[in-house]
């Protein structure tokens, strides 16, 4: 694996709706500056926004990181809990545990995780109840 040429960490706080979307907007801006192709850009845009909103809506806060090598874009979301009790259920389309605040803002359609998986070339999720969830998504550049 080639060395990471760009690494950026974005702390994302729970229920911070005023800043929600800022991390993914910055990620998009950076990828456009790197000249990442429109197709990959579109998929990263969708996935990074979904994963950032997941941190805001469902987690106790965490960090979204961006890593870019000449071969791939890697997004890693690592949160501080609460963890997902049933991963299989969480990956189903339409399943959501979003609260009223999130739903009133138009979120919580239960498409977040399936959407991320659909848009990424590589997708991996690990969750430990009480500890937290880590999602890794890879997007191939060539």
């Amino acid at each position: 694996m080639s060395s990471t040429l760009l690494h950026e960490d974005y702390p994302v706080e729970a229920e911070d709706y005023t800043r929600a979307g800022e991390a993914s907007a910055d990620i998009k801006r950076k990828l456009k500056q790197l000249g990442v192709s429109a197709g990959v850009l579109r998929r990263v845009s969708v996935a990074s926004y979904e994963v950032e909103l997941n941190l805001v809506i469902h987690s106790r806060g965490g960090v979204l990181s961006l890593e870019v090598t000449p071969e791939r874009v890697l997004l890693v979301s690592a949160d501080r809990g609460p963890g997902i009790p049933d991963l299989e259920l969480a990956m189903r389309e339409g399943w959501s545990t979003a609260n009223e605040t999130a739903r009133s803002l138009g979120f919580g359609a239960g498409m977040g995780l399936p959407n991320m998986k659909r848009n990424a070339d590589e997708f991996d999720i690990e969750s430990q109840l009480g500890t937290g969830t880590t999602i890794r998504m890879g997007f191939l550049l060539s």
Binding site: L6, K30, L34, A38
Partner: protein
């Protein structure tokens, strides 16, 4: 940013520019820099939206258009009034008066862009029936919005509907009908658009989605207004010409006019280039994937808010509303009912050239080099004060860092950094003086 020259209607009058930061701070694509006391427009990034024309207090930003003298260049001239022209005259109840006044000004014929809009409306409504197309489909009518997408949202280009602008469709029909009626050759006729904005002028000289524009020139609405106003002040002396467009086509002059013409309930109509930017960002995030159609207009209120219009955009919007309602009372036809099916195959309605991404935001062609530059941009940005004051001549501290990395600026052009450096130097001198004593 390469320096390949592209045609732009928006230009700078160097004599009038004071080198202030107004235009710098309002450009949606960060296409302006102030260097050596004058604004400079970065060709690659400028989308000709005209925000800088609107904001400049010194009238140093101008739109290049053709003067009325262009009428002498052709054997025959056909005027192509944008529907927003009708909104400039509060006292008219029938668009036919404007058409008559244009004839009186010396045009051999007049063909309404609103009629082109009728044809385009029918074509888009048919496009929307295709479920395989991406959602939301994005209107291609406002060239400034399409260019914004090219520069800032290249991944949304597949969503842009591949139907030509009403101006282009109108031009093709106008030429064909005029030549048939007069029995003249196509090259004998000058098709001249009456434009509310520089973006349309640019779209004629460097077309979007087609190799060559069917329009021969564009006359500023502001310029023609001064000639039409005296004629239209005495309506009792004028006989209106028959208008061929529907009320829906006329409605294209204002924001949401296009959406109403295609009878699409599930659409979002956004006006103002900064507002379009925000909503396109949400479309890019897939936040609006349940939306069928997006109509974006760079100017507030739609084309009636164009930088080359005379009348206040809210007044013009109201005038258009009344004209639409009057027209619909007389002929309630929708574009679908009014445009014959035979017309849909007769003219070129589809774009024939892909709209490519504009890579003006890219730091380098080689991704490895681009990454090194981006890292350097981040390092420099962290050192800058973050005031985004524009004193250095770049719109934000971040843009300034990018300019440094690309070799267009140097760090000491930041007055705050310079001040810190001077202070350090002064302290060092004091120290030096003290040790010598």
């Amino acid at each position: 940013m390469d320096t390949k020259t592209r045609y732009h209607s928006v230009r700078l009058d160097k004599e009038l520019c004071k080198g202030c930061t107004n235009c710098l701070m309002h450009c949606p694509t960060e296409a302006i820099r102030v260097r050596k006391g004058r604004a400079h427009i970065l060709d690659e990034r400028c989308i000709d939206c005209g925000e800088c024309i609107r904001i400049c207090n010194y009238h140093a930003k101008i739109a290049a258009t053709d003067s009325l003298d262009i009428l002498h260049q052709f054997r025959y001239c056909v005027a192509l009034p944008a529907p927003s022209l009708y909104g400039q005259f509060r006292n008219i109840s029938d668009v036919g008066y404007v058409l008559a006044a244009l004839r009186k000004l010396g045009f051999d014929d007049v063909f309404e862009v609103a009629r082109g809009a009728d044809v385009v409306s029918r074509a888009i409504a048919e496009k929307l029936k295709d479920p395989s197309l991406p959602r939301p489909l994005i209107s291609s009518a406002c060239p400034a919005v399409v260019r914004l997408i090219q520069v800032s949202f290249p991944d949304l280009l597949p969503n842009v509907v591949d139907i030509r602008q009403p101006m282009e469709v109108a031009a093709e029909i106008a030429r064909s009908e005029f030549c048939r009626a007069r029995g003249c050759a196509p090259e004998d006729v000058g098709i001249l658009f009456i434009t509310p904005c520089p973006a349309k002028m640019t779209a004629i000289r460097s077309p979007l989605g087609q190799k060559r524009s069917a329009v021969d020139g564009a006359i500023s609405m502001m310029e023609i207004y001064s000639h039409l106003r005296p004629i239209l002040s005495h309506l009792d002396r004028e006989e209106p010409l028959p208008s061929t467009s529907t009320g829906y086509g006329i409605g294209w002059a204002t924001s949401s006019g296009e959406t109403k013409s295609i009878f699409q309930e599930n659409a979002l109509c956004v006006d103002g280039i900064q507002n379009c930017f925000r909503v396109l960002e949400e479309i890019e995030n897939n936040k609006l994937s349940d939306l069928t159609f997006f109509e974006g207009n760079a100017c507030i209120g739609g084309c009636v808010g164009g930088p080359l219009t005379f009348e206040n955009n809210y007044v013009a919007k109201n005038t258009i509303r009344k004209l639409v309602s009057n027209t619909l009372k007389k002929h309630p036809d929708t574009p679908r009912e009014s445009v014959p099916a035979s017309m849909m195959n007769k003219y070129h309605l589809r774009m024939d050239t892909p709209i490519d991404a504009n890579s003006a935001m890219k730091l380098d062609d080689d991704i490895t080099v681009a990454m090194q530059k981006l890292r350097r941009v981040n390092e420099i940005t962290a050192e800058l004060p973050g005031y985004d004051c524009g004193s250095c001549g770049s719109p934000t501290c971040r843009a300034f860092a990018e300019d440094i990395v690309l070799g267009y600026a140097n760090e000491m052009e930041c007055i705050h950094r310079l001040k810190d450096k001077l202070q350090t130097m002064a302290e060092q001198m004091v120290e030096l003086a003290q040790t010598k004593r």
